[in-house]
Amino acid sequence: MAPAAPGARDVAIVAFGQSDHRRSTDELSEVEMLMPVLHDVLAATGLKTGDIGFTCSGSSDYLAGRAFSFTMALDGVGAWPPISESHVEMDGAWALYEAWVKLQTGDCDTALVYSYGKSSPGSVRDVLTRQLDPYYVAPLWPDAVALAALQARALIDAGDTDEPALAGVATRSRTAARANPHAQLRGSVPHGDYVVRPLRTGDCPPVGDGAAAVVLAAGERARRLCERPAWIRGIDHRIEAHGLGVRDLTDSPSTRLAAERAGVFERPVDTAELHAPFTSQEVVLRKALRLGEQVTVNPSGGALAANPVMAAGLIRLGEAAARIHSGASERALAHATSGPCLQQNLVAVLEGDPR
């Protein structure tokens, strides 16, 4: 629980970049998709690859359809002379966490974090079934939308939401995305036909390709690199049981615990970037995080407007940080998720310096 613990080192997100998220990027390799984003964050800070103390990335071989897919991205980073570097086979939000831990050791003052995912080459609904228990569940190929629909049905049955309320979440997200030039879906869209009852097209995330990167810096270094650093006041992540039958799908205790450890409940936040690929998951997260109506939720449009798998969580941290950088937020919450039906959750609190 170091975030709130005395002695934790002040670390901030000082730059954030992301690609334009698109349904398909056949003409680009993953590296070509990533490179402009890396250049953006380095240009924003004036740092070069050789100036970065630690580099960490997140991606998945299964999306790429080949082993060691991250090695090619490393070539793109330009790891010469050799760099201190690591990789998580997770969403980039957890790469950011590993980098934050590295900064806590005092070994370095800056870190580059990036992640990317191309869903277009395959069927991401099917690919994600390979995350499930390989002996008893995965052979049945229950896809990601079907599992989310199970969760949505549980919520409706529990009286926590209904279909019009879910449609409202979709409308608000897509409307907010109008102001986000990187979003894949912008503006109002019809609620659509059922994909898997009770979820309609509008309740589900778009399938797309994208990349994101952030730069972290500690203490005074952050102040020199960014006019208004987004200080990470707390960050924590927790995992739950894998089996859907042993979890209450209407609740997210791992999100609540991570939020407690990150200090979310100590003071109100004004903004929350939630990684909720399905409208119904926003309902679960709002409850777990005790977010009231006064909190601006997903001003970027969230994962309903762009959901590049493996980068969407890191983008939530980046979007929250960008709101701090611009002065639009004083204290923001960022959330990332992984696994079926919100199995694993990361929560961070970002703050600007008092004005």
């Binding site: 170091a2 082993a67 010469w80 998580v88 927790r238």
Partner: protein, 388 residues
């Protein structure tokens, strides 16, 4: 800002075999984790976080298996991180876990790495589709054999060196109850007459495909004080990466390996590794990598590594024992292989290595590498806590 000292207080591994048909992936990892907890005399409740590593998900055909393994590793309600840095992952995973303790984020962390190669086919798992890689590389041996040839040409090493390493490591494995290959009838002549796979690498000079897992419990100073057995103390740890391919890359002695070793030695206050380190676990999947890494890590001058091997210095009873456990040549659950090196180094300085114990080992090096000789992870552990 001084880092928290990191201690290894629990080590557990499975008996490594070609196929563990009696357990699921979850059963395999739980076995190693429970042994590490038992060694530390701790329970699942004492663990604050879990850091897990393995090589490509295609090896078992499970995408991000840590999600499914959360229950088996007692991680429910806890933080769980999944590291993947190719063949070096076992070492990197231990270092990420160590950073959680060193950065005072958590007090006690379980770290584990595994591979259950029998669930799938590693050859296919490693075969990248054209055009991402040149065809006909024929697995890892096909990639590394030309670099071994380059080493032989560069140093003038006699052809027999590789077989000496394989003969030594396979004999060492006979003293390690967890090693996969126990070739009781091994002779140098048998190694030298084994079929040639990728010239100059013979069948007996290559690693097996194993099912297996390795786990460690890492803790802070307070946790070490409560440990029932002597801890191993981390004196230095580092990772370095360089690009897969570019014109300036030295595949025989990659700069990332040199830089990584230099960083670890600096942290550990080691000026002369040849004299100050008592035992070495190197990642040697093909026999010739022993002399190659001895040079890369500064145990021998450039071109001289094979002479250490030839003179018997790296034998179990030599002046600088290398791969006391039998090494990767005897046991290779790929994702776990790096962590086994780190764990064996820790076992040595704890005096817990049993029949393959190096008498009086006080400082030991654990080493892992991966990808196209581009990812490196190392640590130096000691019997005494670090002084700085």
């Amino acid at each position: 800002m001084a880092k928290e000292p990191v201690a290894v207080v629990g080590i557990g591994q499975t008996k490594h075999v070609a196929a563990r048909r009696d357990v699921s992936i979850a059963g395999l990892v739980r076995e190693a984790a429970q042994r590490a907890l038992a060694d530390a005399e701790l329970t699942w409740a004492d663990i604050d976080a879990v850091v897990i590593g393995k090589a490509p998900d295609f090896f078992e055909g499970v995408m991000m298996p840590e999600l499914y393994l959360a229950d088996a590793l007692g991680a429910v309600g806890k933080p769980m991180l999944r590291v993947h840095t190719a063949g070096s992952v076992g070492g990197s995973t231990a270092l990420v876990a160590a950073n959680l303790v060193a950065g005072r984020v958590h007090g006690t962390v379980l770290t584990l790495a595994f591979e259950k190669q029998s669930e799938s086919n590693a050859m296919w798992g490693l075969s990248l589709p054209v055009p991402f890689q040149q065809p006909l590389l024929a697995g890892a041996g096909g990639f590394f054999a030309p670099h071994i040839r380059a080493y032989m040409r560069r140093t003038g090493a006699p052809d027999a060196i590789g077989s000496l390493v394989a003969y030594k490591d396979r004999r060492n494995a006979l003293k390690n109850p967890y090693a996969h290959l126990h070739e009781h009838d091994i002779t140098l002549a048998k190694v030298q007459s084994a079929p040639m796979l990728w010239d100059p690498v013979r069948y007996s000079e290559t690693c097996p495909s194993s099912d297996g897992a390795c786990a460690m419990v890492l803790t802070d100073r307070a946790g070490a004080a409560r440990a029932p057995r002597p801890p191993a103390w981390m004196h230095g740890g580092a990772m370095r990466s360089e690009p897969t391919m570019f014109a300036g890359k030295d595949f025989v002695s990659p700069r990332a390996g040199k830089d990584c070793a230099a960083d670890v030695y600096r942290q550990a206050g080691i000026a002369d590794p040849r004299r100050e380190i008592d035992a070495v676990e190197l990642y040697v999947p093909f026999s010739w990598y022993e002399p190659m890494w001895l040079e890369n890590l500064g145990f021998a001058a450039e071109g001289e590594g094979w002479k250490l091997t030839e003179s018997g210095v790296t034998e179990l009873d030599g002046d600088l024992p290398v791969n006391m456990s039998g090494g990767v040549l005897s046991t290779n659950p790929i994702g776990a292989s790096g962590m086994i090196r780190f764990a064996e180094a820790a076992l040595q300085v704890r005096g817990q290595a049993g029949e393959h114990q190096v008498a009086g080992a006080r400082k030991a090096l654990g080493h892992a590498y991966g990808g196209g000789s581009q990812f490196f992870a190392m640590w130096v552990v000691g019997a005494e806590p670090p002084t700085t």
